[in-house]
Symmetry: C2
Subunit: 209 residues, 2 copies
DNA sequence: CCGACCATGTAATATGTTACATGATTGT
DNA sequence: ACAATCATGTAACATATTACATGGTCGG
């Protein structure tokens, strides 16, 4: 059900078209939730049928139709009820870790490549999230500006605080992943020093029997 | 496709029934991959049709049938090819963060409850993962013992190393989440001190207009 | 005029959850 | 006997990915 609330949340900042939402889920918000347009358009219809949002058709240029959806009071109630719920932790699915723990079949070089790619991915991610976080702190993030427009200083500060907490957490996660992978690479070096040229992959051994 | 490889990986340690796999995915391995029996049984059939595993029927007691699946050489090749691939990072979906960033609509008390639940969840998780990690390091983890049985000291050490790296990473992630949430709780205290009784939820304000 | 982008949809397939369904074994 | 656990499946539904499909606008 989270797609539904990710959409409602975005619309609680400003009315948007499906296309806009798809872009949001690909940019800043994409670190926390992503969805493709093929998932968004049908969901918007369902939300409208449920009375949680209301669409209006506008035209761009001469003929190009655009449906802009706004959240309704009912929709806002639903959203508030959802965010107030205790978090529900879903079962974990971590393909990278599965790859890693079964990589004893593939050997140290494969693990090294895996960990190096891990560092690379999270360095990029950390930098991008940090950039967004800094924009927010500086009060220059367009959508956050939109969200706090017309609110009291206390509300303004509260919105900013929550965003900073969320983005900081993501930056820290990325930093952890980088540090972890680098430590793992050093442990791998240590392993190779100790067992030089004896660490052949198990599967190769099996294949050559 | 990861369910497929999570199963192949588990079977590369020892032949198992669907029921056994479902249990594995609920226990230790469940931190990295989980699946329910209704997903496992059909997947086992598909893996068998693809020639990656081979099932044999045994009987428990008088009548109770049990299908035990073993990985085939083709299956092992497939698994090795998969773990050797660079990691493929899937789009993020983090319902808790979505809840948090839109919680400016619900107020500080709601956020406090959210963060406290977060700490509670990750403390439990950290303790459980750490326990498993310690079992592995001590050489007392039954399935890891099974996996390294008959291997050279170098291979043995390599398997152990990878498991330690993986489980350590999960413990560290949990510790990060705990520290992050506790810091966020302090920041929330600070906020409340500063804006005492002005921090009413935005949605309440909207409702009472 | 043409390429990048705006804009909205559907279809087929893959993946994952919850509920329904059945029956045997083991230990107390 | 009875409860907990072993053991295997299907069905309905929800969620997510990839591919197919169409056409308009805007700036250079």
């Amino acid at each position: 059900m989270s797609l539904r609330y990710a959409i409602l949340g975005t619309l609680s900042t400003s009315a948007s078209s499906g296309y806009d939402l798809a872009r949001q889920f690909g940019l800043g918000l994409g670190w926390f939730w992503s969805a493709s347009h093929s998932q968004i358009y049908p969901e918007l219809r369902r939300l409208e049928d449920a009375g949680l949002i209301e669409g209006s058709v506008t035209t761009v240029g001469e003929k190009l139709e655009k449906r802009v959806y706004a959240i309704t009071p009912t929709g806002l109630d639903e959203l508030v009820a959802w965010v107030s719920q205790p978090p529900q932790y879903r079962p974990n699915r971590d393909p990278e870790r599965i790859q890693l723990i079964f990589s004893d079949l593939a050997g140290a070089e494969s693990v090294r490549r895996h960990l190096e790619a891990h560092v690379e991915y999270y360095v990029r991610r950390r930098d991008q999230v940090r950039q967004t976080r800094d924009l927010i702190s500086a009060g220059k993030h367009a959508r956050v500006q939109l969200r706090v427009a017309g609110r009291s200083p206390a509300e303004h500060a509260f919105t900013l605080l929550l965003r900073e907490i969320a983005y900081d957490g993501d930056v820290e996660r990325a930093e952890l992943e980088i540090a972890w992978a680098q430590r793992a690479l050093r442990a791998l070096d240590e392993y190779e020093r100790r067992y030089r040229s004896q660490g052949e992959p198990v599967a190769n051994a099996a294949e050559t029997v």
